[in-house]
């Protein structure tokens, strides 16, 4: 069965690109537009990986990670943060919250696939 990846980003074009790339690699995708939306979509189904932006309205990525870590069903799920080089402090904050992996924006789909394949196998 295909593995499921939750993609959280307020930019629909990012979600689209990430989605296209991941689907092409055989993953199932759940999309969410911000942290709050993402939490509402975590309803107990198996999620193998989460990719989340940092800067989002309603609930930012750091808070989202902290919330995910409180959920027994998802606390072991790897999380990739989408950061930018100008946000080193955010990256550290994200790591402190429990998102140990990151991809620096802007990124090419291939870079993302490399990051994903470090964490899970299709």
């Amino acid at each position: 069965m295909a593995k499921t990846i939750l993609v959280v980003d307020d930019s629909s074009s990012v979600r689209q690109v990430v989605g296209i790339a991941l689907k092409a690699a055989g993953y199932d995708i759940i999309e969410a537009s911000d942290g709050r939306d993402a939490l509402s979509k975590l309803t107990g189904q198996k999620v193998h990986l989460m990719i989340s932006d940092v800067n989002m309205p309603n609930m930012d990525g750091i808070t989202f990670v902290k919330e995910v870590k409180k959920l027994p069903a998802y606390k072991f799920t790897p999380i990739i943060m989408l950061t930018t080089e100008s946000q080193d402090s955010k990256k550290l904050e994200g790591q402190a919250a429990g998102a140990k992996a990151w991809i620096v924006k802007p990124f090419q789909p291939a870079q993302m696939m490399a990051a994903v394949s470090k964490l899970i196998m299709p």
Partner: protein, 731 residues
């Protein structure tokens, strides 16, 4: 990977434009309230998203330019940079430029034109002036061994990698084995030894913690950096030691000192993994310090949060007021199709209802009535989907007002009200240009310079107001300024000069003011208030009329001018009034109908002779539709005839028709190209019984008629020209 990102790119373009618009609004808000941190955040987020997404598509120009803007905003956010008007002006110029860059992408043109490139360079320089030299952040991870990469290409490609995973690894979502699998994609794991010495006694063991370590002999032609990168995500939770194929024995010796295991055990691991030969071990041992410094590598904090305790805790879920509500993006074409289909449904529904009305079975009638009701609701709903608040269009002018007033050295404030008033998106899109023209006129010529205003006892700050409200199925947009008003006398003078006002006649004030909408009327020297933008007011009027709207204005000398635009809510459907002329049907837009009355046969004869009737003491010219459209009388002339009084602006005319059929909700079907040359028709509609009704365009008809009558007067002929639409053409 070959993936097609075209559709996503379209999404990006729309998204970027929206974000730029939001950023512009945010900047204007900040200009008044520089300390609004929520707005700063959303501004930053805008730039951030535009840049981030652009990178996905490899749009390097956008990424590189926006990067500078984002940096600047980041410092504004950190409050290391204060917002002042110069900064706002720069950022506004930057959003404009990003918009241009996005346009380049949208138009698929190769690159910016030379001017834009120049602008970009200038902007970059200005951005640079805000730049401070920040020390490059030190590499957080100190490399364990320094390798000469060129040496890797030597015959020996066997690396040694020691991994000691920390207890937190699983809790951080990491699976040690996925890293090993990934490592295998970079080369070949020749041998792997697992060490479990960190495993505590069973009672103390936490099944959620990781106690594993690995020593790996790894064959790969990759560089140190690439192999090292494989462990980027786990660096916090894992002590990684990588020894290159050319590592010296002293490096191995150093490694032995760093591994947490007892030296004997560590030595055994290295030998077992095959990285060290038993013979080499002796020489390594001789290089070992007698008292190895205690290793710190595995003393990972139980919770990494403690480590970063000093970094400011991210504001606990700064729950922004959910201004940014959620939408589903739908392609406009799809909506268009839906509305078209619903239009057809309305027609088909009307047909069914008509058939049912011939049928005595009441059940059938009930059923069709229920369907008709639902169809109507669906129609309303479909039309509402295309309704957008006019506020977005209004708020775009904040920027215009700001820029133009700065340029003119005036102090003008834009006040917006009724922004929530909704109207059809197609109307909104086409109202922008006329509004822009009117607003620029008001700024340029309406509102006086501060000194003049003060001299006239007004506040130095001028006020421009945009207002919108619903009024009887229309939306009214008002542009109100408190400037000097129109110069009545000069307009009248000019009107006389151009023969627009008959000599001796004294038209009403409003008639005079509305003269400026005449083609070619406004010239800079003639009218001081509204002129001088190259495009005349007649173009504004034409644009509005094309939207089936109307425009008029009111002005008081010294107090200001109010321009009022009246627009239909939607272009797809109108409330019509259906009339019958002979065998033909016509729909008159309901808002043009003033009243209906019977034309008695006695009055008819008189009216036919002179062409007008007495409407409560007013002269009402008549248009006999039979004659005008060359429709044969259906029966004898004895049938009752009716007059529908229609109006446009201050003109009125009575249309003489046979039958009044009442209000009729009309789905407009555009006329085909073949009928493009016809004046006086706004489209067609299909009636429930399948017959076609033409929709009369009253303003065009009135214009045509007054032209005709002028022509007739000059030619001294009495017969009116026909629009020559015969029955045959229509069916």
């Amino acid at each position: 990977m070959d993936i097609n990102l075209d559709s996503a790119l379209q999404t990006y373009i729309v998204e970027a434009r929206d974000l730029l618009h939001q950023m512009e609004e945010a900047l204007l808000v900040l200009e008044n309230d520089p300390n609004d941190s929520d707005t700063v955040d959303s501004l930053f987020r805008g730039a951030h998203t535009i840049k981030g997404s652009a990178g996905l598509f490899g749009l390097t120009p956008i990424v590189s330019f926006t990067h500078g803007v984002e940096d600047l905003l980041d410092r504004v956010r950190d409050a290391t940079l204060n917002i002042d008007s110069a900064l706002i002006a720069l950022l506004l110029a930057c959003t404009d430029h990003i918009c241009e860059l996005v346009d380049v992408v949208a138009e698929r043109s190769a690159s910016l034109d030379a001017q834009a490139v120049q602008r970009e360079n200038a902007l970059r320089e200005r951005l640079m002036t805000y730049q401070v030299s920040t020390p490059t952040s030190p590499d957080t991870w100190v490399r364990q061994s320094v390798i000469d990469d060129s040496a890797v290409r030597a015959a020996n490609l066997d690396w040694h990698i020691s991994l000691r995973f920390g207890e937190q690894v699983y809790r951080n979502g990491m699976d040690p084995f996925s890293f090993l699998r990934y490592l295998n994609t970079l080369g070949e794991i020749l041998h792997i030894v697992t060490t479990t010495t960190a495993m505590p006694a069973l009672p103390e063991m936490d099944p959620e913690s990781c106690y594993l370590g690995f020593d790996i002999r790894f064959r790969s032609a990759q560089t140190f950096e690439t192999i090292n990168e494989a462990f980027d995500f786990v660096r916090d939770d894992c002590a990684v030691h990588i020894l290159s194929p050319r590592a010296s024995l002293s490096e191995f010796a150093a490694l032995l000192g760093q591994l947490p295991e007892s030296r004997d055990h560590a030595e055994r691991l290295l030998v077992e993994s095959g990285s060290l030969l038993p013979g080499e071990l002796d020489s390594v041992q001789s290089q070992l310090p007698t008292q190895p410094s205690p290793s710190t590598d595995l003393e990972l904090p139980a919770d990494p949060v403690q480590l970063r305790g000093d970094s400011a805790p991210q504001a606990t879920a700064r729950e922004q007021k959910s201004r940014e509500s959620r939408y589903v993006r739908v392609h406009a074409d799809k909506l268009e199709e839906l509305i078209n289909l619903v239009g057809e449904l309305v027609i088909a529904g009307a047909g069914a209802k008509l058939l049912a009305s011939y049928n005595p079975e009441s059940e059938l009638r009930d059923a069709t009535a229920a369907v008709a009701e639902l169809v109507e609701k669906t129609l309303d709903c479909a039309l509402r989907m295309r309704m957008v608040p006019i506020g977005d269009t209004f708020s775009r002018f904040q920027r215009v007002v700001r820029d133009v007033s700065k340029e003119l050295g005036k102090d003008i404030e834009l006040e917006i009200s009724g922004g929530e008033t909704e109207l059809d998106k197609t109307v909104v899109e086409r109202i922008g240009d006329p509004l822009m023209h009117l607003i620029r006129n008001a700024l340029d010529h309406g509102i006086e310079a501060p000194a003049v205003r003060q001299a006239n006892g007004k506040q130095a700050r001028g006020r421009l107001r945009l207002n919108a409200f619903h009024d009887a199925g229309n939306i009214v947009v008002e542009i109100i300024d408190d400037g000097r008003g129109l110069d009545r006398e000069r307009i009248l003078e000019k009107g006389r000069e151009r023969n627009l006002v008959p000599a001796g006649a004294t038209p009403s004030d409003s008639d005079i003011y509305n003269l400026i909408f005449e083609p070619g009327f406004s010239t800079a020297e003639a009218v001081t208030n509204l002129s001088g933008r190259g495009v005349g007011m007649d173009v504004v009027k034409r644009n509005i009329t094309a939207l089936r709207g109307s425009i008029d204005l009111d002005s008081r000398s010294g107090e200001g001018t109010t321009v009022r635009i009246r627009l239909p809510l939607t272009l797809a459907i109108i409330d019509g009034f259906l009339v019958g002329v002979g065998e033909a049907f016509y729909v008159i837009p309901l808002e043009r109908v003033q009243e209906c009355m019977e034309l008695t046969s006695a009055a008819n004869d008189a009216a036919r002779r002179c062409g007008y009737i007495d409407l409560r003491g007013e002269v009402l010219p008549l248009l006999f539709m039979h004659d005008y459209f060359s429709i044969e009388e259906a029966g004898a002339g004895s049938r009752r005839q009716n007059v529908v009084v229609v109006h446009h602006l201050s003109k009125k005319i009575g249309l003489v028709v046979d039958e009044l059929m009442g209000e009729y909700q009309t789905v407009i079907k555009p006329l085909g190209k073949l009928f493009g040359a016809l004046h006086g028709f706004g489209g067609s509609s299909i009636l429930g019984n399948g017959a076609i009704a033409l929709i009369l365009d009253i303003p065009a008809l009135l214009t045509r008629l007054s032209e005709d009558s002028r022509a007739c007067v000059s030619k001294s002929t009495t017969t009116s020209e026909s629009l020559s639409v015969s029955q045959g053409q229509r069916s």
